[in-house]
C-alpha cells in the first residue's frame, strides 16, 4: 500500500518536491504576459476607457465576451464533476480534479473582466450598498458569489482526503512549513468510516447543488442580454443556449487540459484513451445540442422577415463572415465528425477538435455581443470609424491574454501543490479493484 501511495504521489505531483526548470520558465512567461495586462489596466484606469475600443454604440466589447467565456468554462467543470459524481461513473475518477480546478479558477477570473468594463471602479461596492433587485446585474452578482462559494466548497471537499494522504506521507521532502500547510486543511482526517461517510454525503449534496446553481448562474448571465430590447439579443432561447454553449466550451477545455497534463506529467496510466473517448463523446453530444440551438436561433431570425433581424444577419454575413463560418460551422462539424467516426477517434484528433471547439466558442460569444450593438434601432449616423465599428485595442488584447495567463498560472500553482489526479479517488478505485480480485480468487 505504501509503495502504491509513493508511486501515486510521485506520479501525480511531480513538482511537489522541487520545481523543474520548464515549470519556472513557463510560469515566468505567464507572469510577464500578466504584467503587460496589468500595465494596460493601469493605463485604462488613468486615461479612461477611451484607450479601449468601446464607444457609444458598442459599449460592451472584449471584456464582456471574456467574462461570459470564462464563466462558461466554469460551468462545464461543475456539470461534469457534479453530474458524473451523482451518476457514480467510475471513469470520472482520474479527471475529476482537473474539472473541479477548472471550475474554480475560471470562476475567479471571469468576474475580473466585468470589473474592467466598469467605468467607475472606485464605486464598484455600490453594487452591494444600493442593489436594485430588478436588475439582471444584481442577479448576476448574487448568483456568481453563490456559485463561487459553492464551487470552492466542493473543491475543498475533494481536497481533504488528498491533503490527509500528503500529510501522512513520511517521505515527503518538503519544508516543515509546507508540511504544516497540508496538515491544517486536512482537518485531522483519519479515514474513519464516519469521516468518510460525512465527506461522501457532503459531496453528494454539493454536486447536486453545483449543477443547479451553475444552470441558474449561466441563465442569469444569458438574461442580461435576453431581457433587453436589442435586436438579436431579445431571444427566448438565450437561457438554454448559453448553458449548452458553456458546457461545450468547458468540455473542450477539459480535454485540452487532460491532454496537456497527460503529456507533461506522463500520466498515461491514469488518463487513458478510454477517458478521452468518453469525454469526446460528451463533447460530440454537446456539440450536437449546441449546433441545434445555434441553428434554431438563426433560422427563426432569418426566416421571419423582421427588419432588424434581417439587418443583423446581413451584417453577420457581410462583416463577420469568416468568424461566423468558423464558429458556427467548423466549430460544430469538426468535433462531430472526429468523435463520430471510430476510425478518427484518437487522442490527438479529439484534442484538436477540442481546441477548435474552444476557440469557436469564444468567437461565438463575440458574435453574440458585438454585431447586435453595431445594429441598433436608430441607425448609427457617425463618421468616426471607431464609433461605427468596434475595433479592440491593444489594451483589450493584453488583458484578454492576461486572463488566459492567470488561468495558466493558477493551474500551474495548483498542479504543483496538489495532485492533479485525485489520489484518494484513484486509490479507492484500486482498493475496490483489490477487493474484487480477492472475491474472485476465492
Amino acid at each position: 500500500m505504501e509503495n502504491n501511495l509513493d508511486k501515486h504521489i510521485k506520479a501525480l505531483t511531480p513538482e511537489i518536491e522541487r520545481t523543474s526548470k520548464w515549470w519556472k520558465l513557463l510560469f515566468l512567461l505567464f507572469l510577464v504576459l500578466f504584467l503587460t495586462g496589468i500595465y494596460g489596466l493601469i493605463l485604462q484606469i488613468t486615461k479612461g476607457h477611451i484607450v479601449t475600443g468601446m464607444r457609444d454604440n458598442v459599449v460592451w466589447g472584449f471584456y464582456i465576451v471574456n467574462f461570459i467565456f470564462f464563466m462558461g468554462l466554469s460551468y462545464a467543470g461543475a456539470l461534469i464533476s457534479g453530474a458524473l459524481h451523482l451518476f457514480k461513473a467510475e471513469w470520472r475518477r482520474p479527471i475529476i480534479r482537473i474539472t473541479e480546478l477548472t471550475t474554480v479558477i475560471s470562476l475567479l477570473i471571469g468576474p475580473c473582466f466585468i470589473l474592467f468594463c466598469i467605468g467607475r471602479l472606485d464605486r464598484v461596492f455600490y453594487l452591494l450598498m444600493y442593489p436594485r433587485i430588478q436588475s439582471p446585474i444584481t442577479w448576476d452578482v448574487i448568483a456568481i458569489s453563490t456559485d463561487i462559494a459553492g464551487c470552492i466548497l466542493f473543491l475543498y471537499l475533494s481536497f481533504i482526503q488528498d491533503f490527509a494522504k500528503l500529510r501522512d506521507y513520511p517521505e515527503l521532502k518538503v519544508g516543515k512549513f509546507r508540511k504544516k500547510l497540508y496538515k491544517a486543511p486536512a482537518l485531522g482526517y483519519q479515514n474513519t468510516p464516519k469521516q468518510k461517510h460525512l465527506i461522501e454525503f457532503s459531496k453528494n449534496i454539493m454536486a447536486a447543488m453545483i449543477i443547479a446553481i451553475a444552470i441558474i448562474v449561466y441563465s442569469v448571465l444569458a438574461w442580461i442580454f435576453g431581457v433587453t430590447l436589442q435586436p438579436g439579443w431579445h431571444s427566448t432561447i438565450f437561457g438554454p443556449y448559453f448553458v449548452i454553449a458553456a458546457v461545450y466550451s468547458g468540455t473542450g477545455l477539459i480535454i485540452i487540459l487532460m491532454w496537456i497534463f497527460r503529456k507533461v506529467y506522463h500520466l498515461e496510466e491514469y488518463i487513458t484513451k478510454k477517458h478521452f473517448i468518453n469525454i469526446g463523446v460528451l463533447l460530440m453530444i454537446v456539440a450536437a445540442f449546441y449546433g441545434y440551438f445555434t441553428f434554431s436561433d438563426y433560422l427563426t431570425k432569418w426566416y421571419g422577415s423582421v427588419r432588424m433581424d434581417k439587418i443583423l444577419i446581413d451584417k453577420l454575413f457581410a462583416d463577420f463572415y469568416w468568424a461566423f463560418i468558423f464558429s458556427n460551422y467548423i466549430g460544430i462539424i469538426v468535433p462531430l465528425i472526429v468523435v463520430g467516426f471510430p476510425k478518427l477517434r484518437t487522442i490527438r484528433n479529439i484534442t484538436i477538435a477540442a481546441i477548435i471547439a474552444l476557440i469557436g466558442l469564444w468567437v461565438n460569444r463575440y458574435l453574440i455581443v458585438i454585431p447586435t450593438l453595431e445594429t441598433p434601432y436608430l441607425p448609427i449616423q457617425d463618421i468616426r470609424p471607431d464609433w461605427v465599428r468596434y475595433t479592440p485595442t491593444w489594451v483589450e488584447w493584453s488583458l484578454t491574454i492576461a486572463g488566459v495567463s492567470v488561468f495558466g498560472m493558477l493551474f500551474m500553482l495548483a498542479s504543483k501543490f496538489v495532485p492533479i489526479v485525485s489520489i484518494s479517488e484513484v486509490t479507492d478505485d484500486e482498493k475496490e479493484d483489490n477487493n474484487e480480485k480477492q472475491l474472485l480468487s476465492v
Partner: protein, 305 residues
C-alpha cells in the same frame, strides 16, 4: 506661447487705459465719438405690460449686434424714463434683461392725447453704440366677468378708460384675446372685438384641465396694441376639469426603486435554500474536524497509557 502672452498684456493695458479715460471724463456719459474705433450697433427690446393688479411691468432687453447675431449685454445699466423724467437705473441680468415694476397708484404725467411715454436708454460705451427704445402708452383697464347659464359658460370682458373725473369711458373696437394660463404660456380660447359699450365675450369650453378641484386662471389680454401695448386681466374660476395631478405611480414596478413583492420573495427563497445547504455542508466539515480531533486525543491517551 509668446504671442498669446503679448496679447494678454496688450488687453490688460487697454483695460487700464480705458478706465483711466473714463475716470477723468467730466460729464461722464455724453461724449462718445472721441473713440476712433467703429462701434457695434446695439438693440434694446422694450415691452410694456399692465397686469391684472394694475402694476405695470417695463422690460428692457439689451443686446449687441455682432456678425448679425444678438449677444445679450450682461450687467449693463439701463435707464428708465417716465414722460421724460428719469425714474430708475436698472442693471441687466444674465439674460440681458432689466425689469422695472411701477406701482398701480403711481401718478404718471400724461401728454395732451392722454398717453404717457415710457423710455429705456442704454448709454453704450466705447465699443457699443448707445440705443434707446420707447413706447407711447394710453392707459386702459380691463375687467373680467363670468357668467354661467345652463351648460354654457361665458367669459366676458369690458375695456374702459377712467376720465379725470373718475367716470368710466368704454373703449370700442379693440381686439381682446381670451386665454387660460398654463405653466409655460397661455392657451388661447377665443378672441373678440369690443362693441360700443366696450364689452366682449367668449364661450368657454368644458375640456380644459384645471387643478385638483378644477380651478383655472382665465385671462383676457390686449396684445401688441398700438395704443395700449399689452394689458392683462385675470380671474380664477373652477371651470376646468378637476385633474388628479398625481402620476399613476405604482410604487413597485420593474423600474422603481423598490422591487415588486414576488421578486423579493422568489429571490429570498432561492437564496436561503441554497445557502442553507452550504451551511449544512460547512457544518459537516466541522464535524469531520471534530472527529479527527477526537481520534487524535484517543491516540495520545493510548500512547500515554
Amino acid at each position: 506661447m509668446n504671442t498669446s502672452e503679448l496679447l494678454t498684456v496688450k488687453k490688460t493695458l487697454t483695460y487700464i487705459i480705458f478706465s483711466f479715460l473714463f475716470v477723468f471724463t467730466s460729464t461722464g456719459l455724453s461724449a462718445q465719438d472721441s473713440v476712433a474705433a467703429e462701434k457695434h450697433s446695439s438693440m434694446l427690446g422694450f415691452s410694456y405690460l399692465k397686469r391684472t393688479d394694475g402694476v405695470r411691468v417695463l422690460s428692457a432687453t439689451a443686446s449687441a449686434v455682432i456678425n448679425r447675431q444678438f449677444i445679450p449685454l450682461v450687467n449693463c445699466q439701463v435707464r428708465f424714463f417716465c414722460s421724460d423724467k428719469e425714474v430708475a437705473v436698472i442693471e441687466t441680468d444674465n439674460a440681458g434683461k432689466a425689469l422695472l415694476l411701477i406701482d398701480a397708484s403711481y401718478k404718471q404725467q400724461c401728454s395732451d392725447d392722454g398717453s404717457t411715454e415710457y423710455k429705456a436708454v442704454y448709454e453704450g460705451n466705447d465699443t457699443i453704440e448707445e440705443t434707446e427704445s420707447s413706447v407711447q402708452i394710453t392707459d386702459i383697464s380691463l375687467k373680467l366677468n363670468f357668467s354661467e347659464t345652463d351648460s354654457l359658460r361665458i367669459a366676458g370682458a369690458k375695456a374702459y378708460q377712467l376720465s379725470p373725473g373718475g367716470d368710466t369711458i368704454p373703449v370700442k373696437d379693440i381686439t381682446l384675446i381670451f386665454a387660460v394660463k398654463r405653466m409655460f404660456s397661455n392657451l388661447k380660447i377665443g378672441e373678440g372685438t369690443t362693441d360700443k359699450s366696450g364689452f366682449c365675450s367668449c364661450e368657454f369650453p368644458k375640456n380644459i384641465p384645471g387643478d385638483s378641484i378644477g380651478r383655472i386662471t382665465i385671462l383676457v389680454r390686449i396684445e401688441e396694441n398700438e395704443l395700449y401695448a399689452n394689458v392683462e386681466a385675470s380671474g380664477i374660476k373652477t371651470w376646468g376639469l378637476p385633474t388628479k395631478a398625481t402620476t399613476s405611480f405604482v410604487k413597485r414596478e420593474l423600474w422603481t426603486e423598490i422591487a415588486p413583492v414576488w421578486m423579493i420573495i422568489t429571490l429570498f427563497t432561492m437564496l436561503t435554500g441554497v445557502w442553507a445547504h452550504y451551511f449544512y455542508v460547512a457544518f459537516n466539515i466541522y464535524r469531520i474536524k471534530r472527529e479527527g480531533k477526537k481520534i487524535e486525543k484517543a491516540k495520545k491517551e493510548q500512547l500515554t497509557v
